[in-house]
Symmetry: C2
Subunit: 351 residues, 2 copies
């Protein structure tokens, strides 16, 4: 290894300080104000000078100092996002889209994760606020009051994403989780199903998962049906968990004819385990999920699911915070969902 940076604590004496605005100005023979204008309001500078300054910038290799800029302008050009996890399906995809949307409008994305822990989320938000983010993208809507007041005191605009509630204080960008699951229930009831089980993500500190569960409950109630408490399961986001919970659900005294899964990996696990147990899907058991990742449609028995464009959630969230910051008109957005029926679901078996 031959690093060109010293691997020692001390650096060499001949440290050339990074070029500054004044260096550019000197080089171009103009004032610092002119250089600043060339960068920030090119139209207000004569062509000749602009050209001269641009060249000077190249020559001295000037890179503007964001800290100094932020200090005077009170804007950092950064947006913070705090998500429960960064690698999980829909969040991961939304991050991709967020980053693109922000980059397109010359903002940069500061990322943090909360691991579904409200306290950690708040501490991350605090840290991002100190960093001077111009806006925040958060997930869900439930937040402690101290938290709310912290944000409003700092006047940092933020988005509640992956959820939709028209009456929320701050704009929501996401699907109506409850309505989406309700549609799925309607479909299953229409197919003749009457006995259900559900495996969902832990609803603690997860208002999206809770909304989905309640959506199922309310929709069933509307049909005069219900899932008995002992047929409602909660688990982690994993295939293995889905496998395990399928086994538990199918060991119930009264077997369900339809299994509703709260996310994609639980559904995949449930389906794979059903195949392994030689449970005939969908003749014997219908399995449905939430979130349409590529895998859902590619398995030997493609899975019926709720499709929500997570990329859209990310993109619109980003654009909406920027609109709030830049003083444009903004509003929450209900991201549409769609029930995608595939081979894993069908008519309920005859009793």
């Amino acid at each position: 290894m031959k690093p060109d940076m010293s691997n020692q604590k001390t650096s060499n004496a001949t440290t050339v300080p990074r070029a500054g605005l004044r260096d550019v100005a000197k080089m171009a023979g103009v004032s610092t104000a002119t250089v600043s204008r060339v960068v920030n309001q090119p139209d207000t500078v004569s062509d000749t000078l602009r050209k001269r300054v641009m060249d000077a910038i190249q020559v001295v290799g000037w890179v503007p100092n964001a800290a100094a800029r932020a200090l005077t302008s009170n804007r950092t050009g950064t947006i913070g996002a705090v998500l429960p996890a960064l690698a999980l399906g829909d969040f991961a995809r939304s991050i991709d889209a967020m980053q693109d949307a922000l980059a397109a409008r010359n903002y940069v994305l500061l990322l943090a994760r909360s691991n579904y822990d409200p306290a950690l989320e708040f501490s991350q938000v605090t840290k991002l606020a100190e960093r001077g983010v111009d806006g925040l993208i958060l997930v869900g809507r439930d937040r402690a009051p101290e938290y709310q007041s912290f944000l409003s005191r700092l006047k940092i605009p933020y988005i509640n994403s992956f959820i939709f509630e028209p009456e929320a204080t701050m704009p929501c960008v996401g699907p109506d989780n409850a309505a989406a699951m309700a549609s799925m229930v309607d479909y299953l009831v229409e197919q003749g199903h009457r006995r259900f089980a559900m495996i969902a993500q832990t609803t603690t500190s997860n208002d999206r998962a809770l909304a989905r569960r309640n959506g199922v409950r309310d929709a069933l109630a509307h049909h005069g049906l219900a899932i008995p408490p002992h047929a409602m399961f909660e688990g982690k986001w994993s295939i293995e968990e889905g496998r395990m919970l399928l086994n538990v659900a199918m060991a119930l005294e009264v077997r369900p004819t339809a299994l509703i899964c709260g996310n994609s990996m639980l559904a995949v696990g449930a389906l794979l385990q059903a195949m392994e147990n030689e449970i005939r899907v969908p003749d014997e058991l219908s399995i449905v999920g939430y979130d349409d990742v590529e895998l859902m449609s590619e398995l030997p028995i493609p899975i019926t699911t709720v499709r929500v464009a997570s990329e859209e959630v990310g993109r619109v969230s980003a654009d909406t915070v920027l609109d709030m910051i830049e003083g444009k008109r903004w509003t929450g957005t209900r991201i549409p969902y769609e029930i995608v029926v595939r081979a894993s679901s069908g008519p309920a078996p005859a009793t």
Copy 2:
């Protein structure tokens, strides 16, 4: 909707400016220097004053301004990472780990994506540099010379991640892609395979994919074997692509007995398509992949693959840049890999 922020361009007149260091100082009846010390070097301040200042901070609700801090200290406490994509398997997982490792040492993660485009990557790096990142985590090692000089001129330390090359100028943190694939080839040859096909990610601007392909080629050569050019395929990172390329590979005049896939999704696709085509795996065809995501072991026929701890890549990359920044001793790290043999591979069929 009843936003508590004005949905208009102009804000109300009674704008209370955010509390600053001097407000805290006034409140506590001390100088700004003392407040600063309480925050940054608590030990050098008397207990009484420290307590008084802490209370004052609470009362006025002071949040330090990172821009001002950065301006004088020349450090922003941010690390930038530019990855080809943020949602793809191993990258997504590594981001999670990076974020954790950085947060643990009180740094924050600035994220950008390059979409496998060197020009875009460079522009993202430029943007992050302007934002004043203290260090960078990049992917791979191949970089244009202008690029290198840009970074060294700005004296921003960086890591080449997901790759390992001991002689690199800047430290690498990642697996030895070539060696990993070579091990896999050794295993397959040992199982009696002589006819191979490979489906890999596009190697353009992707030195990791290239290293894997070359690793396969060299290892085969070492055994006096080779993959003919028409049995080498490149495609995108998706299950569908894997399915398609399996069909192409199995339509070759001389059918391979082993199919080497360059990443996890291609392997999953290939396996699922093989199942659909009723190709007996592994009796008729062995399928192996790279990267061990949960799905690989959960499919009806679990897939033999190379396991690399991507989380480790993220964690160690983060810690190493921080070490470089903080003047500690640092070095590149070769992340270990492991061949995980599962049901998708076995002895070559008798001719």
